[in-house]
Symmetry: C2
Subunit: 326 residues, 2 copies
Amino acid sequence: MKAEILRLLKESNNYISGQQLCDDFHVSRTAVWKVMEQLKKEGYQIEAVRNKGYRLIDSPDVMSQAEIDSLMKTEWAGRHTVYYDETDSTNNRAKDAGEKGAEHGTLFVADRQIAGKGRRGRAWESPAGSSIYMTILLYPRLSPMKAPQLTLLMAIAVAEGIRQVTGLDTGIKWPNDIVRNGKKICGILTEMSTEIDYINHVVIGVGINVNQETFPQDIQNTATSLKLEMGQNVKRSELIAAIMEQFEKCYETFLQTEDLSGVKEQYNSLLVNKDQDVKVLEPGNEYEAHALGINETGELLVRLPDGQEKVIYAGEVSVRGVYGYV
Amino acid sequence: MKAEILRLLKESNNYISGQQLCDDFHVSRTAVWKVMEQLKKEGYQIEAVRNKGYRLIDSPDVMSQAEIDSLMKTEWAGRHTVYYDETDSTNNRAKDAGEKGAEHGTLFVADRQIAGKGRRGRAWESPAGSSIYMTILLYPRLSPMKAPQLTLLMAIAVAEGIRQVTGLDTGIKWPNDIVRNGKKICGILTEMSTEIDYINHVVIGVGINVNQETFPQDIQNTATSLKLEMGQNVKRSELIAAIMEQFEKCYETFLQTEDLSGVKEQYNSLLVNKDQDVKVLEPGNEYEAHALGINETGELLVRLPDGQEKVIYAGEVSVRGVYGYV
């Protein structure tokens, strides 16, 4: 009921009568009043006027089950959310739930991770109160070979979600980092459980630097946050809901062709490497090339100095700007 | 100590003195006697002769931690074993252990599975007392794209292990069923947890029909057991140890080139499809071809009626004999 009342308050520009809420939810005046008191305690500014009702004046950067649920506009992506003030890692929560057959699209969100994971088992710093750590659980009926493409869908969704909520333009560093002015705002970690030719489940984890003002010394030159880029706080729950909305849209487009042809233009328009000189770092081999953009299956097309075109596979090689990281 | 004493009894053709065992393990005569009594209860026939010592006359088909451990001759594959009288599925046990970072090569064995798994989440009938259900946990530092090849290594190991212990010749139906006279003796289910370009862990599950005398009606025409083929019981623990020995050898060979070139000939010599006409069942397409054997990466090479050669990927297509399943 709390999430539903919150949703009604947010969607209404006017007062909502207490009696109306009582009727809608079949509860007493006191029950409605108690919900309003709880919301106020969490930081929501709610005005109560006799004979008019309740009105939401302002929402803080609240991360809670009710806040996220009240904002979610999707059919399935994040429609069911599991929120933790603290957990080991949202990817771990999602993988466990995937083993147990939890609903497709379930989203696991944490305010803090005590064992946050980056790629290849590396740690991902996950302090409380300023970041988004979230992981969506999917059961795509695809060949495991196509699963890497889902990561690129999430990259689009994050960049578009950030733009939708904040107006800020960010870019994608191929394949799936979100950057601004050459500094990283978001990392994406996709993991999956598969048989040889069958996906049991995929989890796509997203870590976004939202309201941080400082970073640990070892990453302070390579990381940034939305707040540092914009000079103001961003409401994390709104951003989560917007990203889920964008992701659902991208995913539905993807399913029509089971490749990226429907979102390729969108991805390439966000791609910071596009039309840039890059260094391709193959294991034991390093060469310069000109990046042209991704193809339908998410590989990066580059033009070599001799004019030949070549396809670069994510994971097999790294790409960086000729003069430092893009 | 029990597994070690059992190993000594098995390795010795002569009597082992009780005093010697006391000295070796720093325990009392009574402690040694108790171990012998336990072993007798489990079905081992042990002779005790005054002034000579103990001698193992016969071992039954015992499945237990001590029995398996006493037989294992490997460096790492199955060197650490976890035995269950009953569990949900050994693949699940191995995956859980993989998430927690259990040792490379740990082998999970069950006498009975209550939620045995076949491919694509299908059930795998797993009654007690007659089958082998086992899963090995691996952390190969390979591209996930190479992981399917590990399944073929296990297929070789099972066929060679069966031959080593029983003398029975079985064949491999590409890619990884073990068959005899067109009927299935063993299925292999490989699952893995990966990032896009990194394997967290791989589990290879093996289900072998050993001493069954009957099968459920729906599979009685397509399944067989070692006992049905040979007319006598097979000791499961010995077979487990032999398969691990073979697997370790195959895996070490594989690692030298990170492909199947070192075991390709061995695989093809076991392949029942080799030099046979097969039906290739692509989704939405079906055609006849002549199977030539696998290549270095485990794909099946076939010759089409027009003489062209083609590579068939496991999982993407099925292959069967022109006149029914091979």
